[in-house]
Symmetry: C2
Subunit: 225 residues, 2 copies
């Protein structure tokens, strides 16, 4: 099955959550706008002669089908490529986690003003608790195998580390399981190969996760630890 991913060039953005799943699945895909430019995206959004018009990138073309909304694409890929449990309860739970991570990402995206970094701490706490509560061990969010939700959590932590390096460094010991998951995903052979390749764009100040030094102050240790 040939996949074609459509996402704006120049930023990782929401497209990156889909790329990580495609890379981990080890399937071939075209990253169309990066081959031929952002203009390739526009006709789809205008929706002439397309039944399922996406609202915005990312969207994925699979044969004659077009699938939009990041979490929806991941649900589709997860079922096809062993990145989600096969049973209904496990599938729903994985998707629930993905939607919660999406809310977190939207929150991070909105935060281009000096809101307390404690926001991110809270959200890390939630994921850390989930890892601790997983009856199959604390390596993955769901069960004993990697799901697309783990890849998305990796990406979120990676982005937050870029945006708030100091605050996130302080959080490492506290949210040990979350940062161990980040390390574990980073070391998976396909992901490691991907991250080292030119296919992985660097973070920058146009994306979801932006680094503004003034929003990431050095804190007195006593406040945080």
């Amino acid at each position: 099955m040939a996949y074609a991913l459509y996402y704006w060039t120049g930023i990782q953005g929401r497209g990156e959550f889909v790329r990580l799943a495609l890379e981990e699945a080890g399937v071939a895909y075209r990253d169309v706008a990066r081959e031929v430019g952002d203009n390739a995206i526009l006709p789809f959004l205008e929706g002439r002669k397309i039944a399922h018009v996406p609202f915005a990138p990312p969207f994925l073309q699979v044969g004659r089908r077009l699938i939009g909304q990041t979490a929806n694409i991941l649900q589709f890929l997860g079922a096809r490529h062993g990145l989600a449990p096969r049973n209904e309860a496990g599938r729903l739970w994985t998707h629930q986690l993905q939607l919660t991570i999406a809310d977190w990402v939207a929150e991070a995206h909105d935060t281009h003003h000096p809101i307390a970094a404690s926001l991110y701490y809270e959200d890390q706490r939630r994921e850390a608790k989930r890892l601790a509560n997983n009856p199959r061990g604390d390596r993955y969010l769901v069960g004993a195998r990697l799901t697309y939700a783990d890849l998305s959590l990796f990406q979120t932590i990676d982005g937050l580390r870029y945006a708030f390096p100091k605050a996130m460094r302080r959080a490492r010991r506290k949210y040990r399981r979350v940062h161990a998951l980040h390390a574990g995903v980073q070391e998976r052979p396909r992901i490691a190969e991907y991250l080292a390749s030119p296919r992985r764009l660097p973070f920058n100040e146009q994306g979801i996760f932006r680094h503004y030094a003034e929003l990431d102050p050095e804190l007195d240790r006593g406040l945080d630890d």
Copy 2:
């Protein structure tokens, strides 16, 4: 199958999207916090001895299972109660629409400042186009039968009419199909019965859709029509 819905009392909020699906499906459900108070929600969020801890209400208890995230709950109910197509492509498309409506709702929720009402016009245009593009007719978003996405579009339009009565009145002729869908859902026997019952909370200024008269000015007709 006995359903128990958990959502904060006093507002329709995101819980209402789930209620509409339960009401249209004609299944019995408990609305737990409205019976016994918001305190019933807290132990679940704290997550003691719960495998799948929800991040926030609404969540749905189905036997021993707990399902969270509005769109995820609707996907579950849609499959069980004929509120979504049975084939994979149709299911994914319905879910994609639901996630897009959720983005719209989040946008409306964030708008407690005088952003251009044109925002809502744009989003209505998108849904209107979708109705126009449905090869099975313009009554429903997906195929020739009601899905949970139609119920959610109804709720969003209903909320926007409460929040921006003047702007939405001006939009009626322009987005005829969207407003016809709203009318069609409103007249379905189970929904009509529900809306007239005390189970339907009124909109208010604590919910997602809030009416602030100063954000809904009378406009010169020429500007808008």
